[in-house]
Amino acid sequence: MSTVIRATATASSPTRTLKAWWQAAPFALVFLLFFLIPLALIAMVSLWNFNEYELIPAISPRNYFAIFEGCSHLTDNGDLCVTLSTYLSTLKFCLLVWGITLLIGFSVAYFLAFHVRSPGMQTLLFVLCTVPFWTSNVIRMISWVPLLGRNGLVNQGLMGMGLVDTPVEWLLFSDFSVVLAFVHLYTMFMIVPIFNSMMRIDRSLLEAANDSGASGWQTLWNVIVPLSRTGILIGSIFVITIVMGDFVTIGVMGGQQIASVGKIIQVQTSYLQFPLAAANAMILLAVVLMIIWGLTRLVDIRKEL
């Protein structure tokens, strides 16, 4: 399919190329206006100076130095500096959430693609997966509170069964609850692309594997996983970029006690420290781009699509 398109495109006349440019123009323009220009502005502002009420145009690395100030040594309390510990904590969540959503997302997609035979049933179950998305993100998060809280359902259940004497505190406002909410919110972003890749796998390959005497696990590992790697990669990019930038989920589920890069940026913008926030945003962008660059090293996404 893709090779056909490429062949016609290269062999086309100049007018056709011009047409192609025109077709690409609207999106390119939107991209330029609403992404590239603002990004350039942020990069510019990150070099500016500021005081309580105004931004002062300048070119100084002061904001970047301020962010990494004190990072060369431990603080008096024996911690890393704010920036490093915040990034470490955000990366930790990223890794945990990515692993868990990948596992769950892959299993669900596998079940939908290979075990559910009728397309009608597939669609129905697929829609069922999206049901949680019918309510707002914030409501979904907040509804964990009466479930996991000190006097919540889970604790009442555990105490009622006599499993624990005092309420379990780490269920809410902890790393656990943050990861739980993330997994609940973002597994869907894994399921969709993986399911999509799986549906495009030629079923005769599975039969061939079976005929050649491969076990179920061998087929899974040597045939299905490699062929759905684009889906896995796209899902991973979704989940990783969302978790890296999130501050609402970490705020609500962490009881505002767990730091995230997004939260720091939000606090800084609300105190009109735009240049500092911009510098932080640039660093975050660089980190996320590096992660994605690393991922695309593993799978050549353009070739696969």
Partner: protein, 423 residues
């Protein structure tokens, strides 16, 4: 789909449709231009102060429409600084004036045009309650209420004809507690970090206010005496944050909160039994039938005040309308309305005239209610015989220890606060 569009008939239909839409739009535009003769004031502020009933009553009295623009406290400041033409009337806190006034985006309010200006409570104009000076640490309104001129970017130390903000509501905040779960009297800010409440305390995560609550605790524990809690030195900020970090690492805090509703949930679910709180949040917990006290403490209160300001570019009919609103607001009806919600209003005597004597006795004089006290919506919020937390106006506002503030070392403070959150 794409095929259909290519057929000529659909193309024509689309064109006629577009013309039709343009016609409707044009028809819709003209009445809008005519309607501009009526004054509409865009009122920027936080949702807490934007009461529908006040806008409706004002429209009924004067014909001027109020259009509320509700954003968070921090965003009010942000918009005043970055988009001063997006509102006609601003309702903001006095402490953010230190950020707004130097930009020149606010116009000094001419007190000669405000009928009741000389009756505004002495707390604002002299820094006194019933003739006694109250605490002025932090950004006390008296420090920022007067401007040197109408177009001034500087505050005046002595009273002048021009005010930066005309006060709307103000109050004194303290700790909220769950008396049914604590089961003993609480009398000091130090209790917030008492290990007895390990894992059951909360502090608010708005750095400039949270640090003041923390400072009250540090002073109450006798760790340090601040020269001015509202304007700490770097060393004092370090010390305050260090105390908070130690408490956090020991597991003192169940959560931090930023939104009014979060504090209500934390308290009513019993996750937290002692925390920094705002007075309407305490009322909200109580209205669920859960015991909650806005506990007066021996070290005093952290006070806040907000008021109306006018953008520098406001002129003509809209300016007249804005002055009319301010005059109407100080005339009593709105003041009585706010007093019944547990806030205090700027001009007390006009509000008193619009309140029942038994209401005034309960809300302002700290006397037991002689009959059930109702909110403006008609819900009973205190039974006959009940007393208001903190007593009378004099006791409460006279007990102010410090005011919400913007420090000179604000940037450093915010950075250190982030350290506390990350610890």
């Amino acid at each position: 789909m794409s095929k259909k569009i290519e057929t000529p008939t659909t193309g024509v239909q689309r064109r006629t449709l577009l013309q039709g839409t343009a016609g409707i739009l044009a028809a819709g535009v003209f009445p809008a231009i005519h309607a501009q003769e009526k004054i509409v004031l865009r009122y920027l502020g936080t949702a807490v102060n934007q009461d529908k009933a006040i806008a409706e009553k004002f429209k009924a009295d004067t014909g001027i429409e109020i259009q509320y623009v509700a954003v968070t406290t921090d965003d009010v400041t942000k918009r005043a600084v970055t988009a001063p033409n997006s509102f006609d009337l601003i309702d903001t806190e006095y402490f953010s004036l230190k950020k707004i006034v130097p930009t020149g985006n606010l116009k000094g309010i001419d007190t000669k045009r405000v009928k009741n200006a000389d009756k505004i409570t002495s707390l604002f104009t002299k820094g006194e309650v019933a003739g006694k000076k109250v605490g002025d640490q932090g950004t006390a309104p008296i420090k920022v209420i007067f401007l040197e001129g109408e177009k001034s970017k500087a505050f005046s130390k002595t009273p002048t004809q021009f005010m930066s903000l005309i006060p709307t509501t103000y109050n004194a905040d303290t700790l909220g507690i769950r008396p049914d779960l604590i089961k003993r009297p609480i009398g000091s800010w130090a209790e917030l970090l008492n290990p007895e409440f390990k894992g059951k305390a909360a502090i608010l995560n708005i750095p400039s206010i949270g640090i003041m609550d923390a400072a009250m605790v540090v002073e109450a524990k006798g760790i340090h005496k601040y020269a001015d809690k509202g304007n700490m030195t770097k060393a004092e900020i370090d010390l305050t944050i260090k105390t908070l970090i130690e408490a956090k690492k020991a597991g003192q805090f169940r959560a931090l909160w930023k939104d009014f509703n979060e504090s209500v949930n934390l308290m009513s679910s019993g996750e937290v039994v002692i925390q920094s709180m705002w007075s309407p949040a305490v009322t909200a917990v109580r209205s669920k039938g859960i015991a909650c006290t806005f506990q007066p403490l021996k070290e005093g209160y952290r006070a806040w005040a907000s008021g109306f300001g006018l953008p520098a570019t406001l002129s003509g009919k809209k300016l007249d309308g804005a002055y009319e609103f301010i005059n109407w607001f100080l005339d009593g009806w709105a003041g009585a309305y706010l007093n019944r919600q547990g806030y205090y209003s700027a001009v007390l005597e006009t509000a008193k005239a619009k309140m029942e004597p038994y209401e005034w006795a309960y809300w302002m004089e700290g006397k037991p209610a002689t009959q059930d006290i109702k909110s403006p919506q008609g819900d009973v919020i205190a039974k006959a015989g009940a007393l208001r937390d903190g007593g009378s106006y004099e006791e409460r506002m006279g007990g102010i220890a410090c005011w919400n503030a913007v420090m000179d070392e604000n940037e450093y403070m915010v950075r250190k606060w982030n350290e506390f959150v990350a610890a």
